[in-house]
């Protein structure tokens, strides 16, 4: 025992001259700052949306007035049969799509994880590609393939004399396209569950005398049920917030869903901002309820394995049947990846979409760069690409800094109010992009000289929309840094900021860089919230594509779709290369 320790033990230690009382307010100020930023980004727009749903006042004409707030306004809208119809259509389309997605995703997971199907790894990564295709592009591609009159599939079928006709401009069409594009969500959840299951759980059933099918029915599926439910609800939630697919496939058949209905309300003249806010609130309530169910499914009955080791999943030897499963997997990839890409390519390069017969499809004189030339002749095209990049960079920088600050505060400090910061950060999970768009519209349209019509409103809306995902990604990478690494720096005499600068940031850099590039990608492909926030000077890529589509020029639409897909492919490859797979995880949670 040395003297110093003794004196400390006796409570007689001298006061350290560096122990500063004056900095006690600092954590409080920091918490207040973060809360102010979050209120500005999330609470204020959401509140304005709620107020909008409860008033009858037109914010553009009258500014904001709190005088005639009444639940009656909201109830009138909710009782409107058009709203109920749109809600019902949404539930049918997303419910049907989810059933298709679960069927495909679960089968795909089982084939990839549990069988000896050849080329499994290749199939698995190809099967994830639909995740990266923007919904609008997917919708356009399938419209080219499956429109009742001019669809390529119908054309080929009729020229071949086959009595098969498809009509994707229908509820069935929406269900089909939703289902095949969102199957990867179910796949990811269930494949992980199948992979992490202790194989001896199934072996025990076999030893007990159960047949392979009995084992699957009584052990395997019940055990991965929480994962199936979680994946199912997530895909449902994401479908519910999608605008692009129902806009392209549902609108021609006059089947409005909630998202397309909300946009239609704001596009009317005069715009029905109050009704749009009310419907957006309904969409938010439905989504919030489903998110709650999904969180319960994830946390409630998860069967964690007893032994904390990695398992080698048992691969079922399918014998010659493995070529059947390979064939089915190839069919799926052909349908979701190759067929739509081919359709876009044909449409983009063919001078006229009129195709007389099948040989004409291969007549090379019919193909040219004409649509690309026309597209780039329109100055708006390049301008929108440039605008998207600009907004993307803004989003990545603001979002990256804010997410790091929040992530660090939540995971690493004892800052007062960090629980509430955490909770507010999570709110946007339950708000579809389109609803964020309406909320930001409401928050700023009535303030002349405010953010409305600027790039900032787009960037801030994107930051708010993707905040839960980026904060989560950054928190994960921060939590992987051992606390003692920081404590060692403090012991060495560094202050808090010095430690963050010299230890935390350098070590967490891969995570931060990945988070920022991911934000950039998400921002440039976002359509839902952009729809309500762009102005003529801030037109972004996704909205411009919708413009071309609605303008009716399918050649230019397809050409621009290909350009966007190529751009995204390059960016995602770079991100994946930078972060080893973080982009995949990120796009997954946000659609």
């Amino acid at each position: 025992m040395d003297a110093q320790a003794t004196s400390l033990a006796m409570g007689g230690a001298k006061t350290n001259p560096h122990a500063s009382r004056s900095h006690r307010w600092l954590p409080w100020a920091w918490a207040a700052l973060l809360l102010a930023v979050l209120s500005f980004l999330i609470i204020y727009p959401t509140s304005m949306l709620l107020i909008g749903a409860l008033t009858n006042v037109n914010p553009v004409v009258d500014g904001y007035q709190l005088s005639d707030l009444s639940i009656a306004n909201f109830l009138t809208v909710a009782a409107n049969p058009n709203v109920a119809g749109a809600l019902l259509n949404s539930l049918i389309a997303c419910g049907g799509g989810t059933i298709v997605a679960v069927f495909i995703g679960l089968s795909f997971a089982w084939v990839v994880v549990r069988t000896n199907t050849p080329c499994k790894a290749l199939i698995a990564s190809a099967g994830m590609l639909p995740l990266f295709v923007p919904p609008l592009v997917a919708g356009v591609a399938w419209a080219i393939l499956g429109s009742p009159k001019t669809g390529l599939i119908n054309l080929i079928m009729s020229k071949m004399g086959l009595p098969i006709r498809i009509d994707l401009y229908s509820m069935t069409g929406m269900i089909f396209v939703f289902g095949i594009y969102y199957a990867p969500y179910v796949y990811m959840f269930t494949a992980a569950a199948l992979r992490n299951m202790d194989p001896s759980l199934e072996e025990a059933a076999e030893i007990s005398g159960a047949s392979a099918t009995r084992t699957m029915a009584t052990v395997t599926f019940p055990l991965i049920m929480p994962a199936i439910i979680a994946g199912m609800l997530l895909s449902f939630i994401i479908m519910l917030g999608i605008y692009g697919i129902p806009a392209v496939l549902g609108s021609p058949a006059n089947i409005p869903v909630l998202t397309t209905y909300i946009f239609a309300l704001t596009a009317w003249s005069p715009p029905q901002y109050n009704t749009a806010a009310s419907v957006a609130v309904i969409l938010m309530i439905v989504t919030g309820f489903l998110v709650y169910l999904q969180q319960k499914a994830i946390s409630g009955r998860s069967y964690t394995t007893v032994a904390g080791k990695a398992f080698r999943p048992r691969a079922l030897n399918l014998g010659p049947w493995r070529f059947l499963t390979l064939g089915l997997a190839i069919v799926y990839i052909f349908v979701v990846v190759i067929l739509p890409t081919l359709a876009l390519t044909v449409a983009a390069f063919r001078k006229f979409m009129f195709i007389r017969d099948i040989p004409a499809l291969f007549d090379m004189t019919q193909y040219s760069w004409i649509h690309f030339n026309k597209m780039f002749d329109n100055p708006l095209t390049l301008q929108s690409i440039y605008n998207s990049m600009y907004v993307g960079v803004l989003t990545a920088i603001i979002g990256g800094i804010l997410s790091f600050a929040i992530g660090y505060t939540i995971t690493r400090t004892q800052t007062p109010g960090r629980r509430i910061i955490d909770i507010i950060t999570t709110i946007p999970v339950a708000i579809p992009g389109l609803v964020i768009g309406v909320a930001y519209l409401w928050a700023w349209i009535g303030l002349p000289g405010g953010l409305y019509g600027t790039f900032w409103i787009l960037a801030l809306a994107f930051v708010a929309r993707f905040l839960p995902d980026t904060v989560k990604a950054l928190s994960t990478s921060l939590m992987q840094l051992h606390k003692e690494l920081e404590e060692a720096a403090w012991i060495c005499g560094r202050g808090m900021l010095g430690t963050i600068g010299t230890i935390v940031l350098p070590l967490a850099r891969p995570g931060v860089v990945a988070g920022m590039t991911l934000l950039f990608i998400l921002a440039i492909r976002e359509l839902g919230s952009s729809l309500f926030l762009y102005s003529s000077g801030t037109m972004v890529m996704a909205v411009q594509l919708l413009g071309y589509y609605e303008g009716g020029n399918i050649g230019i639409t397809a050409a621009f779709s290909l350009v966007q897909m190529a751009l995204l492919a390059v960016l995602i490859t770079c991100t994946n290369w930078l972060s080893r797979g973080a982009a995949e995880g990120g796009v997954v949670r946000t659609g």
């Binding site: 059933a205 047949s211 007893v306």
Partner: protein, 366 residues
């Protein structure tokens, strides 16, 4: 009910790595377990003991060899015989328990009977009996996720015995439990298996577990069964240096055989010392040997006169409370000796006399 198990020339070759290398995980293993006998396969990880067990279960397909249970051929790859696990009527307890977390205790235990289509009345009776046997009768309707590790393992045991299997297979069933529970359950396990009279094949890497549980112990290394014998034979007459070392004979003295007289021989060790030891097979005059000896068999300051008395220096002393470990310098080698009791009687650097009883000094050819 319980049957004899015969494993003949079992061989399992895995092909792993890039470029693919074939490695025999189980290499020509043969043994027989009599009905009602408990045999423990003991060895370090990767020695092939679990693969052997999984081959018996039918979960792993051997490359060659035969597995005969109760006179019926269950595995014979050469003849194309490979009965699937579900038709073998074996019980198995897994290292990770493998109790199904989505079922209650009762549902877990009833599962094998349901798969067999056992009538309800009979099923209920058998489940109740099995649960009473493992003393979990009052937990029947709990979800298994609410049980402790030891309780889960007992559910797994009840589940594996409820249908009166021909043979019970246990794959390191205690390795996930904490030390105290392991000791208790170890004794319980043997008692329960013996009461039911089951033939059991038990796999572990823990020597004390093997000694307490097994009627016979088979020591394995690199896919080979080195010795299969009663615990006291394994401990007192290990077949080779590895078995000796693995069961705790950690002292090794190098020497050369001077003369051989029946089972014993005189070995020159160190500068000019002579040591009498039991000679292993293939050891003759002039061969270099390693003499293995357990630290607890080193007699400290023996009374009277006898063979193998040596003057040694105490190099270091490690007091461990209830026992003391000394490092002694003997004929140039360092050996450990154990003194039981809480009093350490010898000081560092003192010279003492030790006795190494010849019948438990084993010399093996190098």
């Amino acid at each position: 009910m319980s049957s004899e198990l015969r494993v003949e020339q079992l061989r399992k070759v895995f092909t792993t790595g890039k470029p693919p290398v074939a490695k025999a995980a189980v290499d020509d293993v043969s043994f027989t377990i009599a009905a009602g006998e408990i045999v423990v396969l003991l060895g370090p990880s990767g020695c092939g003991k679990t693969t052997t067990l999984r081959c018996v279960a039918g979960l792993e397909h051997p490359t060659s060899g035969r597995i005969v249970i109760g006179g019926t051929m269950y595995t014979d790859p050469q003849a194309g015989v490979l009965v699937p696990p579900r038709s073998r009527n074996l019980g198995m307890v897994f290292q990770s328990y493998a109790v199904w977390p989505h079922m209650t205790v009762r549902q877990n235990v009833a599962y094998p009977l349901k798969a067999r289509g056992t009538p309800r009345a009979e099923l209920n009776k058998a489940v109740a009996q099995a649960l009473d046997l493992v003393e979990l009768g009052s937990y029947a309707d709990r979800p298994v996720t609410q049980l402790s590790g030891g309780q889960m393992q007992r559910v797994a045991l009840a589940r594996s015995m409820v249908y009166q299997p021909q043979i019970l297979l246990l794959d390191e069933p205690l390795s996930n439990l904490d030390a105290q529970l392991r000791l208790r359950l170890r004794d319980d396990l043997r008692r329960i298996i013996k009461r039911v009279g089951l033939t059991a094949l038990y796999v572990t890497h823990d020597q004390t577990e093997a000694v307490v549980l097994g009627d016979r112990i088979g020591v394995m290394r690199d896919g080979k069964l080195l010795q299969l014998d009663t615990p006291s034979e394994i401990y007192n007459r290990p077949a080779d240096l590895f078995v000796a070392g693995f069961t705790g004979a950690s002292n090794v003295i190098d020497g050369t055989v001077v003369s051989r007289d029946g089972a014993f021989g005189v070995i020159a060790v160190g500068a000019n010392e002579r040591l009498t030891a039991r000679l292993g097979d293939g050891v003759s005059e002039g061969s270099a040997v390693k003499v293995a000896l357990r630290p607890d068999n080193v007699g400290l300051s023996p009374v009277g006169d006898g063979p193998n008395r040596f003057k040694v220096r105490v190099a270091s002393r490690h007091y461990q409370g209830t026992q003391t470990v000394y490092e002694l310098t003997l004929a140039g080698a360092t050996i450990e000796a154990l003194e039981v009791g809480s009093a350490a009687r010898h000081d560092v650097d003192s010279e003492i006399v030790v006795a190494l009883p010849p019948e438990i000094c084993w010399a093996y050819a190098v």
